[in-house]
C-alpha cells in the first residue's frame, strides 16, 4: 500500500456530516444496491463457509495419502473419486483446497486484528493528544513506511523463524503504520469539524469529545482499510510461503505453499498450480470488491 493510496482512503471519508448510525445505515443500503459489492460478498461468504465447514465439506482428510495410482512423475488428474486429482504426495487436492481456506482465513483475521489493534491505538494516541506525542508516533510510522512492506514482512518472518505465527506477526507489523496513519489523519480532519466545535462550546471535556465524538466518526476509512488488508494478507502470506517462510510442517494445506510447491513440476501437472491459484485470486477479489464498494458507500460526497 503506497502513501498515495493511503491518502486516497484518508480523504475519501473525511467529513461524514451526520451521526455514525445514519451513515452506516445509508452505507449498507448502498452496498446492497451495488452489483460488484454483492459479487464480493458472495465470494467472501463462500470462502468463510468453506473454511468453517471444512471437515463436513471435504471428501477426504487433507493429510491422507492415496498411493494406488501414484508413481514418480505421474500426477493422477481429476477423477470421480478425486474431483481435482491428487497432489504430488497422493493427497486429495480438493480436500486440501477446502482445508486451506481455514489457514488463509486464520492468517487474515489474526494478522488484521493484531495490526489494526496496535495501529489504531497508536493513531488514537497521536490523533487525540497531538503535539509532541503526535510527532514522535508519526516519525515512528514514517520510519516503518520507509521500509518496503514485503521486505519488512520477510525480515520479521525470517527473524522469528518458520511458523504460521511468525507469518501472522509479520503481516500484522506491516499493517500497523498503515492503520496508525489512516486513523490519525482521519481524526485530525474530524477535530476541525463543526460538531467538535459545537461540543466544545457546550463545555464537553476534551477527552469526551475525542473518545465519544471524534474517534467513532473517524473509523470509516479504517473499516475500508480493514477489508482491503484481509485481501493483502492472503497475497502476502502466499508470497512468504513461496519464499519458504510459512509453516515448516509440509502437511499443512496452505494455498500459498501448495502453489509454490508446484514450481518444480509445473510442466507435468499445471492443474495443481491452477487450483490454489484460483482459490487465492477468488478470495482476494472478494475482499477487494467489498472494500472498494465500502469506500464508495461510506463516502459522504457521493450520498444523495
Amino acid at each position: 500500500m503506497s502513501i498515495n493510496q493511503l491518502e486516497a482512503v484518508e480523504t475519501a471519508v473525511a467529513h461524514p456530516e451526520e451521526a455514525a448510525g445514519g451513515l452506516a445505515r445509508d452505507a449498507v443500503r448502498r452496498l446492497l444496491r451495488s452489483p460488484t459489492a454483492i459479487v464480493g460478498m458472495v465470494l467472501i461468504a463462500i470462502f468463510v463457509f468453506v473454511a468453517v465447514f471444512a471437515p463436513v465439506l471435504a471428501p477426504y482428510s487433507p493429510t491422507d495419502i492415496d498411493l494406488t495410482d501414484l508413481r514418480p512423475g505421474v500426477f493422477p488428474g481429476p477423477s470421480a473419486e478425486h474431483l481435482l486429482g491428487l497432489d504430488q504426495l497422493g493427497r486429495d487436492e480438493l480436500s486440501r483446497i477446502i482445508y486451506g481456506a481455514r489457514y488463509s482465513l486464520l492468517i487474515g483475521i489474526v494478522s488484521l486484528s493484531m495490526g489494526a489493534l496496535v495501529g489504531i491505538s497508536l493513531g488514537l494516541v497521536a490523533g487525540a493528544f497531538g503535539g509532541w506525542v503526535d510527532s514522535v508516533v508519526m516519525r515512528l510510522v514514517d520510519i516503518m513506511l520507509a521500509i518496503p512492506s514485503l521486505l519488512l514482512a520477510i525480515g520479521i518472518a525470517a527473524l522469528l523463524g518458520r511458523s504460521l505465527t511468525s507469518v501472522m506477526i509479520a503481516i500484522a507489523v506491516v499493517n500497523v503504520p498503515i492503520f496508525a496513519r489512516l486513523l490519525r489523519g482521519s481524526m485530525l480532519a474530524q477535530r476541525q469539524s463543526d460538531y467538535a466545535l459545537a461540543a466544545r462550546s457546550l463545555g464537553v471535556t476534551r477527552s469526551r469529545i475525542v473518545l465519544r465524538h471524534v474517534f467513532p466518526n473517524s473509523l470509516a476509512p479504517v473499516i475500508v482499510q480493514g477489508t482491503l488488508a484481509l485481501a493483502t494478507a492472503i497475497i502476502e502470506a502466499a508470497g512468504l510461503a513461496y519464499l519458504g517462510l510459512g509453516s515448516p510442517d509440509p502437511s499443512v494445506p496452505e494455498w500459498g505453499r501448495m502453489l509454490a510447491e508446484t514450481n518444480s513440476f509445473l510442466a507435468s501437472a499445471p492443474l495443481l498450480a491452477l487450483w490454489p491459484g484460483l482459490a487465492i485470486v477468488l478470495s482476494v477479489m472478494g475482499f477487494y470488491l467489498v472494500g472498494e464498494a465500502l469506500r464508495e458507500a461510506l463516502d459522504p460526497k457521493l450520498r444523495r
Partner: protein, 334 residues
C-alpha cells in the same frame, strides 16, 4: 521552490537515522545473534566469543552503532559473510539489474495503462472500460509469483518463445562496463547480446509490471473521468475547439497530475521490492540477493541492503514530491 525541496530533504534525515537504528537493533535481535549465523552448527562458547570480538559485537551497542554509522557515511557497509566481498561492491553489482527490471516494468505499465485508462475514462461502461476494470482487479488479486509461474510455463516452457531464467544466456561473454546488460551490449557494439538481455527482461518485467499497470489504469481512468466533467472542458467544447485539442490540452494535461505521482511512487516500490519476481526468474538483482542474505543471516548485507533500499525508496518519493511541485504550482505554497 528551492525552499520546498530543501525542507523536504531535511525531513529525511531523522527518518533515515531512525531507520538505521531500527535495522541495527533488528539485526542484533536475530535468534542466536550474528555469531551463531556465522558459525552455524560448529558454534562453541569459545568460538562464539572469538567471533564476537572479531566483529566488535562484544562492545556496547551504542559504540557499535557509532562506528558502523561512521563507516556508512563513507560508503563502507562492511563485508558480506557469504561472499567475503564488500557489501557496497555487491550492491553495486546487483542494483543495476534491479533498476533495469524496474524501469522496464514501469515502462510496460505506462505504455499499456495510460491509453487503456484514458479510453476507459472517456467511455465509461463501454466494453473497454469493463474489460480494463476486470483486468485491473485480476492484476491486483494474482500473487506476483503465481503470475511469474504462469508466464514462465506458457512462454518459456510450452511455447519456448522467451527465456525464463537469468539475465543473459550463458553462452554470451560480453563485457559489462555499466552492469545494465542491454546498455552494455549496445555500448560494446554487441547487438545480439543486447537483444538477448532484452528478451530475458520481458517475462519478469511483465510479471512485475502488472500491479503498477492495474493501479495506473485505475488512476488514469478516474482522473480522466473527473477532468472530463469539469467546467473548463465544457467551455472548451462550447467554444468549438476540436476534440483533439480538448483531449490533449485540457483533459490529458490536467488528468496527468495524479498519474505522474502514482508512477513515481510505484517506481520507488519496484526499485526496492522485486524480491518475489527476481526469485521466480532467478534474475540476480537486489531482491533475490536480499532474500538469500536473510536466510543465511548475512547480517552486514541485511543491514546495508535494507538501509540502501530504504534510502532509494524515500529519495524516489522525495523526487516525486518535488516534481509534483513543478507540475502543480499550488503545492509549493502549502
Amino acid at each position: 521552490m528551492l525552499k520546498f525541496a530543501v525542507r523536504r530533504l531535511l525531513l529525511l534525515i531523522p527518518i533515515l537515522l531512525g531507520l538505521s537504528i531500527l535495522v541495527f537493533v533488528f539485526v542484533r535481535a536475530l535468534p542466536g545473534g550474528p555469531e551463531t549465523a556465522l558459525l552455524g552448527e560448529r558454534s562453541t562458547p569459545e568460538r562464539a566469543a572469538q567471533v564476537r570480538a572479531a566483529y566488535g559485537l562484544d562492545r556496547p551497542v551504542y559504540e557499535q552503532y557509532a562506528s558502523y554509522m561512521g563507516k556508512v557515511v563513507q560508503g563502507d557497509f562492511g563485508v558480506s559473510i557469504q561472499t567475503q566481498r564488500p557489501v557496497s561492491e555487491e550492491i553495486a553489482r546487483r542494483f543495476p539489474a534491479t533498476v533495469e527490471l524496474a524501469l522496464t516494468a514501469i515502462f510496460f505499465a505506462i505504455l499499456v495503462g495510460i491509453p487503456l485508462g484514458f479510453v476507459a475514462g472517456r467511455r465509461p461502461n463501454s466494453w473497454v472500460d469493463n474489460a480494463s476494470t476486470a483486468g485491473s482487479l485480476l492484476g491486483i488479486a494474482i500473487p506476483v509469483f503465481a503470475l511469474g509461474f504462469l508466464l514462465k510455463y506458457v512462454f518459456a516452457v510450452k511455447l519456448g518463445w522467451l527465456p525464463g531464467i537469468g539475465r543473459q544466456s550463458a553462452t554470451i561473454t560480453t563485457d559489462h562496463p555499466t552492469g545494465f546488460f542491454v546498455l552494455d551490449g549496445i555500448l560494446t557494439g554487441d547487438f545480439p547480446a543486447a537483444w538477448d538481455a532484452a528478451k530475458h527482461l520481458i517475462l519478469p518485467a511483465v510479471a512485475l509490471g502488472t500491479i503498477p499497470l492495474a493501479i495506473i489504469t485505475r488512476i488514469t481512468r478516474a482522473a480522466v473521468q473527473e477532468v472530463s466533467s469539469e467546467d473548463f472542458v465544457r467551455t472548451a467544447e462550447a467554444k468549438g475547439m476540436t476534440r483533439r485539442v480538448v483531449t490533449r490540452r485540457h483533459i490529458l494535461r490536467n488528468a496527468m497530475l495524479p498519474v505522474v505521482t502514482i508512477i513515481g511512487l510505484q517506481t520507488g516500490l519496484l526499485l526496492s521490492g522485486a524480491i518475489l519476481t527476481e526469485s521466480v526468474f532467478s534474475f540476480g538483482g537486489m531482491g533475490s540477493f536480499m532474500a538469500q542474505a536473510l536466510f543465511s543471516r548475512d547480517f552486514p548485507v541485511i543491514q546495508g541492503g535494507i538501509l540502501f533500499l530504504a534510502v532509494v525508496f524515500v529519495v524516489v518519493n522525495l523526487l516525486v514530491d518535488i516534481s509534483y511541485g513543478f507540475i502543480d504550482p499550488r503545492v509549493r505554497t502549502r
